[in-house]
């Protein structure tokens, strides 16, 4: 029977991976991709209507297809979260008090009550999380980290004039993102090396003090190595005459193309449609309520 050892980390996450398929979505200007992502998030949060959310969900699925990402793979990323989503939904249904005296009670058991409102709230919650997860996955599949940091920096550039250190902050972000895979690999190597010397990282045995001390063989070298890397990076930057952000120009200049605007307009339209739908339904319900009285 194949034995899966406890040391293979980091292979399971679908979020945060860049899958270069060279699709139309991949080739869009990263600033626009960021804006589109932002619109998606705003629309998801602002839409209080299942139909609107269904629309956004379909939009994300279409996006995945356009980006040539296997739908099965993307949806499989939702699997590990299903138990928690279920728990969340149950919490929503039972634990959050229902609002409005006219909410119809569908089921009753001692103090627990299920109303159509709470079911709706749970459904909204599930739908929103589903869209967020898939949407943000889509974003990370289509955007490499360099694109991401360049995009953020260029979007924030206009603020630089107002004294906001956009350049410095996006450099911090670049460095952090650049070090993530390095540190992840180093963590894994440290874990294996210390385990080879009989280290047991204290999962669940002993008092707090003991357990913390057992984590030190992993955490201390990680920090020390990072500080060492930091020193080396500073030297390297200064050796290349890095003098700070004043007057720095960029190699990569972004120029917006018609397809970028197309993407932005489509996203904007979808967002407006979704929010509008939810507001319209709310309106219709409101009129109905007014009419009934």
């Amino acid at each position: 029977m194949p034995e899966r050892s406890e040391f293979e980390l980091l292979g399971r996450m679908t979020i945060g991976q860049y899958l270069p398929t060279g699709s139309w979505l991949h080739r869009l200007d990263p600033r626009f991709k960021l804006l589109m992502g932002l619109l998606l998030i705003i629309a998801t949060v602002a839409t209080a209507d299942l139909l609107g959310l269904a629309l956004l969900f379909c939009a994300v699925l279409v996006g995945l297809v356009v980006a040539r990402i296997s739908l099965r793979f993307a949806l499989a990323g939702l699997l590990p979260m299903l138990p928690f989503l279920a728990l969340l939904a149950l919490l929503q249904v039972f634990a959050i008090p229902q609002y409005g005296a006219d909410a119809t009670v569908l089921w009753r058991w001692t103090i627990l009550r299920v109303t159509d409102r709470s079911l709706l709230a749970a459904a909204l919650l599930l739908a929103r999380f589903g869209i967020m997860v898939l949407g943000l996955s889509l974003f990370s599949f289509c955007t490499s980290t360099t694109e991401l940091t360049h995009g953020i920096e260029h979007l924030l550039l206009p603020l630089q004039g107002l004294g906001f250190p956009a350049h410095e902050l996006s450099l911090v972000l670049t460095i952090a993102l650049r070090f993530l895979p390095i540190l992840a690999e180093e963590t894994e190597r440290l874990m294996k090396a210390q385990a080879s010397r009989g280290a047991d990282f204290g999962r669940g045995r002993g008092g707090l003090l003991q357990r913390t001390r057992r984590l030190l063989p992993l955490l201390v070298p990680l920090f020390l190595a990072s500080l060492q890397h930091a020193d080396e990076l500073v030297e390297a930057m200064e050796a290349r005459c890095y003098l700070g952000g004043k007057g720095r120009t960029h190699l990569l200049r972004f120029r917006a193309h018609p397809s970028d605007y197309l993407g932005l307009v489509v996203s904007l339209a979808l967002a407006v449609l979704a929010i509008g739908l939810s507001m319209a339904r709310a309106q219709a319900w409101l009129w109905h309520w007014v009419g009934a009285h």
């Binding site: 029977m1 194949p2 034995e3 899966r4 050892s5 040391f7 293979e8 292979g11 399971r12 899958l19 296997s70 793979f73 180093e186 190597r189 440290l190 294996k192 090396a193 210390q194 385990a195 080879s196 010397r197 009989g198 280290a199 047991d200 030190l216 063989p217 201390v220 070298p221 020390l224 190595a225």
Partner: protein, 288 residues
Amino acid sequence: MSASTNLLIEVRGLQHTYLPGTPLETQSLFGVDLEVHAGESVGIIGPTGSGKSTLLQHLNGLLRPQQGGVWVEGVSLADPQANLRSVRQKVGLVFQNPEDQLFERYAGDDVAFGPRNLGLPPAQVRELVRQAMQVVALPFEFKDRLTLELSQGQRRRLALAGVLALAPRVLVLDEPTAGLDPQGRQELLHALCAWRSHYGRAIVLASHNMEDVAELADRVFVLVAGRIVLSGPPRQVFAQPELLGSDGLGLPAPTQALQELRRLGYPVSSEVLTVAEAAAQIEALFHA
């Protein structure tokens, strides 16, 4: 399968795949066979990405065999009940750049980490640390020095001592001399030879530094793209340059030099492994 104490590690038909079931799935080992006997030094050479590190991590149970088997002194590592702690005491694995794993403020404490994890009494721990530091030629007084104040070469030897303090039967090393200056390299190889000279021990050395392998190994396995393509005594393996050259591997410099001389028509034997042997061959030319 064999319970003989002479056969320390046995690997049969080992296969391994990273991230199975994901779009990034890659197979790294395609049925590897290997044996390590007491008293011998086994060299595993192969280009980067050949699966050397993956193979090494199977030898002490960090990776469990997905297909095929690994046995350490007769104990199968595919068995979920296998006592990994005992395996990791018998098979000491030294990672590349082992000085990165030092975490204790004082050097002696870091060497003592391994034996202490085995739950040994302080007196025994002290003795193991003393012996280990002696093998790597670090004075025992260094135990009270700040770890970060030692030089890189000293820290690497300290990390090696940390594994030697477990008193393993097999020492498995991944690129032990990577990043060391010539003197550091010599000191490390010397320490390894000194350790190996004790009865019943074995060394497994994975490297793409041919000179290291030429100097230490009794038997060489050539690993390319997850498969063993060549194995045998080093002189035999290095005598097949065509095979090696096409796999992106080089030869030890002395061997290469003499093969060049042969090609130029000089009557020398190219079955040399070390600089000393090469020098002897060249010197013989002058006496002819």
